[in-house]
Every structure is written in structure tokens, then in C-alpha cells.
């Protein structure tokens, strides 16, 4: 068991804990030694707690932290592992390099909160390499909280390889506060009998810019995947979504589903790409961009809501 205690007297620890709570995290889990957790503020590891079956290796660098997180062979981690990344000051650079391995027959859920509540000139980069071993399972939820200023660049990039029988579920959410500039780039190689589900939900406002690129290559027989994207943009925000699924093997099944709601002067572009080079593979797609559904708005207005309130509820529901 690895354990670096979160020093509750540290000002930085207090700040990041408050920011973690603002992002929707439960701060109690960071102090619970029965749970695995990792707290990184800027380039400092403020706490790390690994329970049985989990190995954390971490190295502070000039502008971030290099992390290796391994779930050992055969371990099914019963409770989620909580990760907190953030920068509390209004400016800074956080460069995270993540090497994640879920060894054969292991299973884990990671819940990450990325919090930048005061960002005016912040860059958050993540470069991740993830390996989901044979029959292993990873469920990864990443929730961002950015505050109201929009002065942030979020640049997550990941390559995920899912080995035979493995499964990978990810849910990326950036709906609280301003997006700023988001360039999301994930690519997945899925081998035989593997499952991949990637969900992204983003709410852009003011002059936010959103670029999402998700690629899945179904290389193995009967590999299956879904890319699901829900974007809402308003004011002068802009978004470009590219969801690419390639079917290369017999029985491979993939689907790309993008729905974007636009309001005001926002501009949205959705490009679902399906490529198949095996006659026994099948990949489908759907994409829709438009205003909020009129019947939904009128239904809520007929229950007494103002039009703006109705739209807000519908958009939040879509992004929930």
C-alpha cells in the first residue's frame, strides 16, 4: 500500500480540496485511506493512496507530474479510485503524463475531477497511454470545472489499446463554467471481443472553442464500440466534432452518435466518419445539429416555465 497523506494544514491542500468539492467531488474520499486516491495541484503530488492491487508511481516534473498507474493482474478493485487534478491560481501550466495499465483480468473504475476555478491563463495538458489487458475492464469518468473566466486551454490526448475481451468505458464532461479552448484527442485500438464506449458532453458559452476528435479502430473480430457526443453551444461559441470508427474485422460493430444543440450565434460542425474494409464488419453513424426541440420547449412552457427556463432544463438534461 502506497500512502502520502493529504496534509490538511497545507494551504495548497485546502485550496485544491475546496476546488475539488466545487467540481462536484466529495472531499471526504481524499482523506479516506480505505479508498485509492491521487491529488495533484499544479506539479505537486499532494496526496497518494493506493490500496491492494493498485500501484502508483509518480514523478514531479517542471510543469506537471508523470504518473504510472497499474492495476495488478486479476484484481477487481471494489471501490472507485479518485483522482483530482487542478490549478487553483489564475495562471499556470499543468502537464500530466499518464501511463495506465489494467493487467489481465483486472477491473477498476477511475473517477477524475479536473478543477481550474480561477483560470485566466491556464494550460492543462494530458498525454495518456492506456492499456486495457486481456479481459480487463476500465470505467473512466472525467469531470471538469473551469470557473467563469474562460482563460484556459485543455488539451487531453490519449491512446488506448483494449486487448482481447477487454472493456473501456469513458465519460468526459465539461459543462460547469467556461470551456475556454478544448482540444480533445482520443484514439482507441480495439482487439478481438473488446468493447469500447466513449461519451463526451460539453457546454460551450461566450467565445469558447471546442474541438473533439475521437477515433476507434475495431481491429479484432467482434470488437464493438459506440462514440456518443452531446454538445450544447451558445453565444459565439464554436465546436467541431469528428467521430471516426473503422471496422477492420469480421463481426466488428461500431456506431457514432453526435447531437449538437446550438443557440445564439454559435457555430457547430459534426463530421462522423465510418470506414470499413471488411465485408463482415458494420459501422453506422448519426449526427444532428439544430436548435432545441420545439415540442420539448412548448411542453415545458405548457407546464408553466418561461422559454429560457425550458431551454435550460432541456440542455442540462441532454448533458446530464
Amino acid at each position: 500500500m502506497t500512502q502520502i497523506a493529504l496534509n490538511t494544514l497545507s494551504r495548497e491542500a485546502e485550496d485544491i480540496t475546496a476546488a475539488y468539492t466545487a467540481a462536484g467531488g466529495d472531499a471526504a474520499v481524499l482523506h479516506n485511506h480505505g479508498l485509492s486516491s491521487l491529488v495533484i495541484s499544479g506539479n505537486k503530488v499532494l496526496s497518494a493512496n493506493a490500496t491492494e492491487g493498485i500501484v502508483f508511481e509518480k514523478k514531479e516534473t517542471e510543469h506537471g507530474v508523470d504518473i504510472k498507474l497499474t492495476i495488478k493482474k486479476g484484481y477487481k478493485i471494489p471501490l472507485p479510485v479518485h483522482l483530482c487534478f487542478g490549478i487553483v491560481p489564475k495562471d499556470g501550466l499543468q502537464d500530466i503524463k499518464m501511463d495506465f495499465v489494467a493487467e489481465e483480468d483486472s477491473a477498476v473504475e477511475l473517477i477524475a475531477h479536473c478543477t481550474f476555478p480561477n483560470a485566466e491563463k491556464v494550460i492543462h495538458k494530458m498525454d495518456a497511454k492506456m492499456l486495457i489487458g486481456k479481459n480487463a475492464s476500465l470505467k473512466y469518468t472525467e469531470t471538469h470545472f473551469h470557473g467563469p473566466h474562460g482563460g484556459i486551454q485543455v488539451l487531453p490526448k490519449a491512446h488506448i489499446r483494449i486487448e482481447e475481451g477487454g472493456s473501456y468505458y469513458t465519460n468526459f464532461s465539461l459543462i460547469s463554467g467556461r470551456v475556454g479552448y478544448l482540444e480533445f484527442d482520443y484514439s482507441v485500438d480495439a482487439e478481438k471481443d473488446s468493447i469500447c464506449e466513449m461519451v463526451s458532453k460539453v457546454y460551450g458559452k461566450a467565445d469558447d472553442k471546442i474541438k473533439i476528435l475521437e477515433r476507434i479502430s475495431l481491429n479484432g473480430e467482434n470488437a464493438r464500440s459506440v462514440i456518443k457526443s452531446r454538445l450544447a453551444i451558445t453565444d459565439n461559441a464554436e465546436s467541431v466534432f469528428r467521430g471516426i470508427t473503422e471496422g477492420h474485422a469480421p463481426g466488428a460493430r461500431g456506431h457514432v452518435d453526435c447531437m449538437e444543440v446550438i443557440q445564439g450565434n454559435a457555430k457547430a460542425e459534426a463530421i462522423p466518419v465510418v470506414r470499413v474494409d471488411n465485408p463482415l464488419a458494420k459501422v453506422t453513424h448519426e449526427a444532428a445539429i439544430g436548435c432545441v426541440d420545439k415540442k420539448e420547449v412548448e411542453t415545458l412552457m405548457a407546464r408553466g416555465l418561461e422559454e429560457d427556463e425550458a431551454i435550460d432544463i432541456i440542455v442540462k438534461g441532454m448533458l446530464a
Binding site: D293, E298, R303, G304, A320
Partner: protein, 227 residues
């Protein structure tokens, strides 16, 4: 629509009967004030007030609401939250009241309360949730656009009972229907054809007229003459 004269009493159940395309749903949308269904002539008076200048929201806050024939899908919105929305104007709603509304439409609360309205529910289930949202709102006038469509015959009795409950709770109900069972449970009925109300009166008589005169009528351009 033209020549639509209709008077609905306090706590009255009034059925609007007519063939497809007769203008029944158009009447419902016009009363609710939906976009594209604003009336150009005539007036709609509710409790002595002309509704012409009022938006959908304002009409709803006066106590008018509409249950759509094909309810909207709301991705991510939980049934619990949907049913609570209409009750905001009445000072909110308790968990038990939400459950009770679901029971009244024959849905088990424990199975449905946390599901999403936009989930892959059947047409009948979505229709029942729509009706439950009317119950929690406690409107003065509930306009129900074909509440029986997509619902089996056994459930039709429950729809009739639900309409009676709305009345007992103080609502007037304008119900658009093809079903004799619903018309029979009404206090009054009106027959619509080609955008007109041809006659109003005893629901059984109107229902009989519809069955014997309108259904065989194959020339909808010339509506059947009324004595």
C-alpha cells in the same frame, strides 16, 4: 378552423370527436397558444379573460395545460423531475405525491421515478407519464389530445378513471378522442369536421352521430349536413 363556438363549464368533461384531419388537434394547440397556431379572428375567453395576447407560459400559469398526443422525448430528464416541473406553480410537490401520480396512471413508482423520460419507453408508457405530469400540475383546464392513442383497451378504463379524477380534483377537461368509452364518460361532446364544430350536446348522441354519419362519409370536402 372556422365556425368554432365552444363553451366549457367549470369541472366539465367535454369530448371533441371527429375524423382524422377534422381540426381537433389544431383546436387544442390554438387554445394552448402554440407557435403557428395563433388565432386570427374570434376570441378565446378563459375565466373572463381574453387569451389572445398571452404566451404559452402565461396561459399555463392561468391554469391551462396540454397533454400532447405524441409526448416529447426529453433526453436526460428524469420522470421525477418532469413531474415536479408542473407543480412549481402550486408551491412544489412531495416525493409521495409524485409516486401517487404515477400510480394513478398505472405505473409502478419504484420502476419509473428515476428513469429518463427520453429513455426507450414504449408509446403507452410515455403517454402515461405525460398524463401523470398533468395530474401533478393540477390545472384548471386540462386539454388532452387523444390520451387513448397507443393505449390498450384494458387501460382505457384507467384513462376514463383518470379523467374523472381530474374533474374531481377541480379541473375542467377538454379531451380529444375517437373512443366511445371516453365520450360516454364526458358531460358534453362536440363533433368537429373540416375545421368546424358541427354540433355540441349529449355525448352519446354525438358519438352515435359520428359513428353512423361521419365514419361512412367518404366526401370530407362536404361535411354531413346537420339537422
Amino acid at each position: 378552423m372556422r365556425g368554432v363556438n365552444l363553451e366549457l363549464g367549470d369541472r366539465e368533461i367535454h369530448s371533441i370527436i371527429g375524423a382524422n384531419g377534422a381540426g381537433k388537434s389544431t383546436l387544442a394547440y390554438t387554445l394552448m397558444g402554440l407557435q403557428g397556431y395563433e388565432h386570427e379572428e374570434g376570441s378565446i375567453i378563459f375565466n373572463g379573460e381574453d387569451l389572445a395576447a398571452l404566451s404559452i407560459t402565461e396561459r399555463a400559469r392561468k391554469g391551462i395545460t396540454l397533454a400532447w398526443q405524441e409526448p416529447a422525448r426529453f433526453e436526460g430528464l428524469k420522470v421525477r423531475d418532469y413531474l415536479a416541473i408542473g407543480a412549481r406553480g402550486n408551491g412544489g410537490i412531495t416525493e409521495e405525491e409524485i409516486k401517487e401520480a404515477l400510480r394513478k396512471v398505472d405505473l409502478k413508482p419504484e420502476k419509473y421515478i428515476n428513469r429518463e423520460v427520453g429513455e426507450a419507453l414504449s408509446g403507452g408508457e410515455r403517454k402515461r407519464i405525460e398524463l401523470a405530469s398533468i395530474i401533478t400540475m393540477k390545472p384548471k383546464l386540462a386539454i388532452l389530445d387523444e390520451p387513448d392513442s397507443g393505449i390498450d383497451v384494458v387501460s382505457l378504463k384507467e384513462i376514463v378513471a383518470l379523467i374523472q379524477t381530474l374533474k374531481e380534483n377541480g379541473s375542467s377537461v377538454l379531451v380529444i378522442t375517437h373512443r366511445e368509452e371516453i365520450a360516454a364518460a364526458s358531460d358534453k361532446a362536440s363533433l368537429m369536421c373540416e375545421g368546424m364544430i358541427l354540433r355540441s350536446g349529449d355525448p352519446l348522441e354525438i358519438s352515435e352521430f359520428f359513428k353512423n354519419r361521419c365514419i361512412p362519409c367518404d366526401n370530407r370536402v362536404s361535411p354531413p349536413k346537420v339537422k
